[in-house]
């Protein structure tokens, strides 16, 4: 099969440029717009990264702007002397770590649970419902959360009141806010993220389950010794991707959920960039911050990947 395919293709490789273009030139025509898109909207912005090393001047053309003080490092130094920025780093890492420790295992457990559900139609209904929150925007979720978690008349606090628990300021005290942020993240994405794991589970050989059954394994032993090991590569790959994002920050989620009372917990790097850059016109400073964030992101991704490979896993690449 491979050989015949190769034989079929071989003649094309010998085509002269002229004939090749006659036959396949349209492929380049198809690629033209996407490539132009990538050049303009993904690569051209990289030229503006130089703003991180230049004076904060966006009126002059980019290449005429003089370099910043301290050998161009002025903005990086200023950023790390900026209390708000240091707090933003702290908040970003805290929220991401909590997402990783609490949020990452949630879809795995959920997928294991769904996999054990034998009722086909009920399983389908469950899946449809738990995918639902993924399709809601963070604005809508913040609307739902504001209502449901309102201190005096929110559903949750009304119910808590009936059991005799004092109202909890879920969104109005920094520590509670952090917890709510993580919980809402799980509420939104845990169901959706089961899809990948469920697909990986269908790839596990049924023979393994049969062998386990012959050995008299009960449900939990089956999960522990067959299903979970079968999910290992998927878990590791997703873990690497998540570690790469440890300093990355979403914008929609903290922006939609935060309010004036909790800025000490909710101001993450992306919000810092928005407020100081777009609103405060400190373009050089915030470009430097963004560059720092991107570089750290790539660094974490590469290290997590090579670490995984060292432990004999496939990694992302």
């Amino acid at each position: 099969m491979k050989n015949t395919q190769a034989a079929l293709r071989r003649p094309h490789k010998k085509l002269s440029w002229r004939n090749y273009m006659k036959r396949y030139g349209t492929l380049y025509l198809l690629l033209l717009l996407p490539i132009i898109f990538f050049i303009i909207f993904r690569y051209l912005p990289m030229a503006y990264i130089t703003m991180a090393f230049k004076q904060n001047n966006i009126i002059k053309p980019l290449f005429e702007v003089p370099w910043a003080k301290k050998h161009g490092m002025e903005w990086f130094i200023k950023a790390f002397k900026n209390r708000d920025f240091l707090f933003a780093i702290k908040n970003t890492v805290t929220l991401n770590l909590l997402d990783l420790v609490i949020g990452f295992p949630a879809p795995i457990m959920l997928a294991l649970l769904l996999n054990e559900l034998n009722h086909r139609s009920f399983k389908r209904i469950t899946q449809t419902v738990i995918y639902l929150p993924h399709f809601l925007s963070w604005i809508i979720i913040s609307g739902l959360a504001l209502r449901l978690l309102a201190p005096t008349d929110g559903l949750i606090n009304i119910l808590l009141g009936k059991v005799g628990i004092a109202p909890i300021p879920f969104l109005n005290k920094p520590n509670w806010w952090t917890g709510t942020y993580v919980a809402l993240g799980i509420w939104k994405e845990a169901g959706w993220n089961t899809i990948i794991y469920l697909a990986a589970i269908t790839g596990i050989s049924p023979e393994l389950y049969e062998a386990a059954a012959v050995d008299g394994a009960n449900r939990l032993q089956r999960i522990w010794h067959v299903t979970l090991p079968g999910l290992r590569p998927t878990i590791i790959t997703l873990l690497i991707m998540n570690l790469g994002r440890i300093l990355g920050s979403e914008f929609d989620r903290p922006y939609a959920l935060s309010n004036k009372l909790v800025t000490s917990a909710s101001n993450v790097i992306s919000i810092f960039v928005y407020q100081n850059g777009i609103k405060g016109s400190q373009f050089s400073l915030t470009t430097a911050v963004g560059l720092f964030q991107s570089v750290i992101g790539v660094f974490f991704l590469l290290s997590a990947n090579s670490l995984a490979k060292k432990f004999g896993e496939r990694g992302v690449w």
Binding site: F38, N218, T287
Partner: protein, 290 residues
Amino acid sequence: MIKSRASKIGDIVIIAVCCVLIFICLVPMLNVLARSLSSTEYLIRNEVLLWPKGFNLDAYTTVLKDAKYTHSLGFTAVLTVVCTLLSMAMTIMCAFPLIYDNLRGRAFFNGFILLTMYFSAGTIPHYLLLKNLKMLDTVWVLIVPNCLSVFNVIIMRSFFYGIPDSLREAAEIDGAGPIRTLIQIYLPLSTSVMATLALFYAVGRWNGFSDALLYIKNRQDLYPIQLLLYNILQNTNSIEIGTQEGFFDPGVGETLKMATVMFATVPILLIYPWLQRYFVTGVTIGAVKG
């Protein structure tokens, strides 16, 4: 297979847990829906939980009378359709040539595209570029800069890879060019993945607001529904909607807010369950080589 007693109990426990999960997913929506349909007196007394009391549609009719809100709904709907069509066209145009292993420069194109997934210039450089391109405060800034997602290109490409080469080669031997091969062979076989990606793009645009927040300053008529909704939710007393009497009544403002939330949610709730069997394949393909 005869089930042991322990495993039957296990089944019941699992079903019970799933019921709780379904409940947790639906309660917020039901609570908001119930409140949006209830009359003020019951809301103030905190009597509305999951079922409306004093059923009425006043909040919805009031919201629909608000020109600003309906304009934004309509604008976002049109924007979503346009963006989705454009994005799909771009995604197919980008993914299809890359499956030809005799495409000269394929490795370069692949790398060129993939690199942007791992390293991004950042918010401010993008902003400065769009500013210099004079795209700020225009409708284009909501359409063009995010019209192509590398992740979706990868999903599309992986799906195309799954279609046997022999089909393509047969078409070529019959004299079909790449475009004809694409339209007559690949696209008809790819309806499921196209439905998935269209859903992703459409949901992304319908739910998106950060680009409008960053790039739209002086053109309120270009506010997508989510941004308007954010402003409504943040203003406790001064909802711009509902200039009717009763406006200062906190209960009424409350039902109005809930109604605006429902309007922004319902279109998605109507569409996604029908596409469920498709998007499961889409996500799975994407995960294979991310």
